[in-house]
Symmetry: C2
Subunit: 335 residues, 2 copies
């Protein structure tokens, strides 16, 4: 088993919208396992918006995917062969994995999942993984929410946004989510207990809507989307508001520069702070943060949703789905 | 003397470019001096870009000027009559003053200038006043310069920019100023010892120019102008760069929304922090900061330039001059 493996490689770099043609499924033989390495069978792979940027040949905080090489991203795998004394057969590991059914990896590059009856292993790719940690540090460290403040979140039903809103609620904030479609609005209000949800598909003027439901204006904007939706929020900021710049998914598929209103004069007179971040900046605080999130989960203070597509060959489809806004919560692929 | 006074009032709010027609010079009688008040003869008045925003009827960190009422701004005046035990005749005071030759003010609203042979009183409107303090706190608190970093400043020969660059130099940074015209470039390099000066009037592509003179990219951008010039700099930011949002003078005279490239994806992947501020946020640290700036002045580490126009009636002209970029250093009017 696992002498050869299916692999998704980057076949071409997208120009504009990413498409299934940018990926190619190939099959290759695997080499033997060397000292310090483990062979794993991939169980789950995570698809995330930031991966779109890695498909471009642009230097960023993570290096671009290489053409003709395996795509890689966060995943969970089971150890099937080991030459590392840190791992035994059947251990579950989480970390950056190639988009392969089987792979041979340096044992130092993954982390063992301590299985827990109360929490499924997939949580390590969502609420307890980089997604949850991104929500945690972005909101708490950059947003610095204070009780009674108003927090607006874009892509609020997404993997990160849905956790941000719940942490904001725990911190005593009024939480307003922006999302697309009635189903997601209901999810935010009824399941996640957001104070308000705005369906951007039915709301031509976000600014006007916010003026109505949020006369006290916005203290924290946790931005996952950028573009027109964000513009509407950015006109409604309070003095000393904070903008947590987490994603700009509405702009990732554009192959030309997008133009928008110049908002810096607004930021100036309102003394706004805007900050981009990546979750790895907080790596030395991951353990504590994960303990805190786990506690909230066990207390029922935080809920999370995973949208799991089955089948290795569906990885590109799952990834493309991120850009059409169909999913609620974290998008995973079960291999 | 001073029974009546000349007054510049706001006659109309500008739509687009501010013009002399927006001001009107009138003459009015002054009431008597009441307990706790002083009558002062204005000596110098400061004209500042932020005042343009006060001419609009828009709520900001300072309230708008009122129509048919005196313009006001920072100034130095001499006490000519006193019903306050804090001030004596001939004391010099600094503070927010109406654009009047004479005025009667609450003594608690101004501060006595302790005259000092080494430093002229006008310094309290420039390098030791709000201008110098704006440079000081914007650069040091928001910019957080570290030795060896690269600092770019727009409107670098202006009142704030020229001080920012010199403090950055004291902190061991490489300093690049953007300004208009050869004379100002020479001033920055030869008088203020900036490492580089870019003449934006002769540089159609700021980004390209920066790529040439600054391959190490930009760690701090101290922005006084906004618009196209800033766009060029913002493409050249380093990871974890800081943008100090101090002014956006290129946009103040526009009566429609200006459009520009959407740069937030850049800010995101570079983990940029951008922050607007006003100097009054640091009011409880003004004394210390002023002591530090004074020390730098006395040591010869900082130079400053004041551009003084004579004549009360020239106040509007001096103010309009801020938007044509003619002046070097601080623009004052000697009454």
């Amino acid at each position: 088993v696992g002498k050869s493996t299916k692999i998704f490689i980057l076949k071409s770099r997208p120009s504009g919208d990413v498409s299934a043609d940018n990926f190619e499924l190939i099959e290759e033989d695997l080499p033997g396992v060397k000292e310090g390495e483990i062979k794993v069978k991939t169980r789950y792979l995570s698809v995330d918006p930031y991966m779109r940027n890695r498909m471009n040949n642009v230097e960023s905080y993570v290096s671009p995917f290489e053409l003709e090489s395996a795509i890689n991203g966060n995943g969970i795998a089971e150890v099937v062969e080991t030459k590392s004394d840190q791992f035994s057969i059947r251990d579950l590991v989480v970390g950056n994995l190639p988009w392969q059914e089987y792979s041979i990896i340096d044992s130092k590059r993954v982390e063992k999942i301590l299985t827990d009856e109360a929490i499924s292993s997939t949580a390590y790719l969502s609420v307890l993984g980089l997604t949850g940690l991104t929500a945690f540090f972005g909101l708490l460290d950059i947003g610095e929410p204070k009780s009674g403040e108003t927090v607006v979140i874009s892509a609020a039903a997404g993997a990160v946004g849905s956790i941000v809103g719940q942490i904001a609620r725990i911190k005593g904030c009024k939480v307003i989510g922006i999302t697309g479609g009635e189903k997601k609005c209901d999810y935010l209000k009824n399941d996640l207990l957001f104070d308000e949800a705005i369906d951007y598909k039915k709301t031509p003027n976000i600014r006007k809507e916010l003026r109505k439901i949020c006369p006290q204006k916005v203290d924290i904007y946790f931005d996952n989307v950028g573009g027109d939706i964000s513009d509407g929020v950015l006109y409604m900021l309070n003095n000393k508001a904070r903008i947590v710049l987490c994603g700009q998914i509405s702009l990732y598929n554009l192959n030309r520069l997008s133009m928008g209103p110049r908002l810096f004069p607004q930021f100036l007179i309102r003394r706004v702070k805007m900050q981009g971040f990546i979750v790895y900046d907080y790596a030395n605080q991951f353990l504590e943060a994960r303990d805190q999130i786990k506690q909230w989960l066990l207390d029922g203070a935080i809920k999370y949703n995973e949208n799991i597509i089955e089948g290795f060959e569906n990885l590109p489809t799952a990834f493309l789905g991120l850009f059409t806004g169909g999913n609620i919560g974290k998008q995973l692929v079960k291999v």
